[in-house]
Symmetry: none
Subunit: 398 residues, 2 copies
């Protein structure tokens, strides 16, 4: 329905996404949430003067989302229909360029003795070792079975692989025994058409073993999370807005690219990020501005650090709000409550700064959002609201 | 989706179900609800310290559920997809054992004169008469058309029938004119494959009339609500938890059995019920603990009795909460508001006692639940939340 209602104009929509923003009452801090405890005069000023509040459910009631489903839903894609696979996310996190048809995988160096994987992590070799070994693979194994091979080192024993060629599919089992002291496992095809892809992956693994046979520890590789760049309607087409993604972390620039958003620069910090936003403001209608530190603090269970991350956003918020977009949305892709030290299923607080004159008249935090006029909606429906407030949706029906 | 996310562990989940718990503001009692008026220091203590509140909609907005849909949805089954038929519920309520393929029906004794059903309820003959007549049928009509026949008397003129044999289906119309002074109605097949089942039922009705032809009042039987034991994924398989049902009323033990839950004992009172829970606590992960009296009081329109029923639960609640399950849910299968003297469509208040540290900090009743952090969800989604709080659901997507 929505595509028929889209209006074309230059009204701006900004999504300021604080990763893992949502939290729960923290017992050691008077049952406050970090968003509630943070001193954020700018954010709360906007909320009180022209903010409507609500909560968004990323996937479904009780379901804890990963970063892929969390962002897909924010951008109006049903996360139960579309998927960004683990291999693709890994590759994006390492800032690798992914093309249509590319097959991506997460990989580990491992130790193999007489056909047994004795250590899936090759003694957690240092990153420098992984860099050396990936260099070796890059220079010696440029292609297998007619497919280009691209590897990039990650941290410790981890690296990522892209296979680039025709007719590749991700209908493959993990080439990983998932436990130590099990026989080396190759990938196998989950569907008849995956036979060629399985041969590509398994040939690669054999070539790596031959290449590394003299290595004392890391003499093999395991691959898993095979996934293709998802076949998805580009954001610009879906919502009739040119979109720019601004993120300090590569994975989020990568997710944006997969959705067809532009990425012009790689900001080292939020001052640079804000500059990128300002510099490109006239050329786009939609802006995805990603902040990672809220999630990192939540994962660490560090309440004060999460508060600080929010207060830091509040510091540069006036520069964003000062651009006076039609709609400014401040929310998260999921909750990462400090007491749980990880992603959770809890609905995420959302603030929509409007130009309609309306306001809920309240500061922005979980408890006020529970009573906010937006109500509790699915994240995938947030985009409709943002478009509506942005004057970008026509009336439905006469 | 959910089946892929299930984690296997021994974390316990207890559903304490107060049948018909939900109510509405009662004008004669200062517009309080029974749950609001009840003195329940234990329940409110749990709610204030570590409870999140919300409301659950059993079937859909405005829809009043029976016991079947009410419980199906609590246990995570979509009540608009799955059904427990009336015949099956009747049979379960009489504590009859139901096997796969059994065809169940509700039955009445009636008065037939010259082909007309002159009294569908046979003058509401006393239960003792129905017991005598069912005894007669049991000894004289052991089988029809090769199908075993099992009857059991209910209250007044009511009884229940199970037909046990091969190829039985419930695609049958009621063998009941539904009004007095109409011609005797036989069942007819709603689908081609139901011809045999119709013949079984109609032969049974004819045999009953021959057997009872000398009876002055109850000289025939009407059958309705034909239903098979539902073909449904067992709870244990669906949620990767061994489940035990503890209920003082047979119908609820029966519903649980239909869903593949275990029933080990038939408690005569709640002290026995609590003992059963404690005794079996190590052998199961999920516990369905059913309390009937709240519904009975609601059906009677008796506010004080409903208050008492809740206060009685509060008396034994510490013994349940003392087991320290990962998740304790206190809610109902539907609302039975005293002013309405029957089931209703009103959302049902729900309390989840959590281990995350979070709390809404409020006593448990309808008005606080309306503002609770769980929000208003469908009953069928409550199980996801219970599993999430129970540490039994993995993250969705990377």
């Amino acid at each position: 329905m929505m595509d028929e209602l889209l209006l074309k104009n230059d009204n701006k929509v900004i999504f300021l996404i604080l990763d893992g923003l949502g939290d729960i009452p923290n017992p050691p801090f008077d049952l406050k949430t970090p968003l509630e405890a943070a001193k954020k005069p700018n954010m709360d000023g906007l909320a009180v003067q022209r903010g409507v509040l609500g909560r968004i459910i990323p996937v479904d009631v009780g379901i804890t989302p990963g970063s892929g489903p969390g962002h897909l839903s924010l951008f109006g894609y049903d996360p139960q229909v579309h998927e960004i696979g683990r291999g693709v996310l890994e590759v994006l996190g390492l800032n690798m360029k992914l093309k249509d048809g590319d097959l991506a995988a997460r990989a580990n160096f491992c130790t193999i003795k007489e056909g047994l994987v004795t250590d899936r992590r090759a003694g957690r070799i240092p990153t420098s070792e992984t860099e050396r070994l990936c260099g070796l693979i890059s220079s010696e194994i440029k292609e297998v079975e007619g497919c280009e091979v691209i590897v990039k080192p990650g941290k410790s024993h981890r690296f990522a692989v892209i296979f680039r060629g025709k007719d590749l599919t991700d209908r493959l089992t993990d080439a990983d025994p998932h436990k130590d002291n099990k026989p080396l496992t190759y990938t196998s095809a989950k569907a008849p058409e995956a036979g060629f892809s399985a041969r590509v992956v398994n040939s690669f693994m054999e070539r790596v073993m031959v290449l590394l046979k003299a290595e004392p520890v890391a003499n093999g590789a395991l691959l898993r999370g095979f996934s293709l760049k998802p076949d998805i309607t580009p954001f610009t087409e879906k919502f009739a807005m040119k979109a720019l993604a601004i993120a300090t972390y590569p994975m989020y620039r990568g997710i944006a690219k997969v959705l067809g958003m532009d990425v012009r620069d790689e900001p080292a910090n939020y001052d640079e990020a804000v500059s990128i936003l300002k510099k490109n403001y006239n050329d786009y209608q939609f802006f995805f501005f990603h902040v990672k530190e809220t999630d990192l603090a939540g994962e660490d269970g560090n309440f004060e650090e999460k508060v600080q991350a929010i207060e830091n956003v509040d510091r540069f918020l006036p520069e964003i709000a000062g651009l006076d977009p039609h709609t400014l949305v401040i929310t998260g892709d999921h909750s990462t409550p400090c007491p749980l030290k990880g992603h959770s299923w809890h609905p995420v607080p959302a603030l929509i700064v409007t130009k309609t004159g309306e306001t809920d008249g309240r500061a922005f935090h979980e408890k006020n959002c529970l009573a906010g006029s937006v109500g509790t909606i699915y994240s995938k429906d947030l985009m409709s609201l943002a478009l509506a407030h942005g004057g970008r949706l026509d009336k439905y029906g006469a």
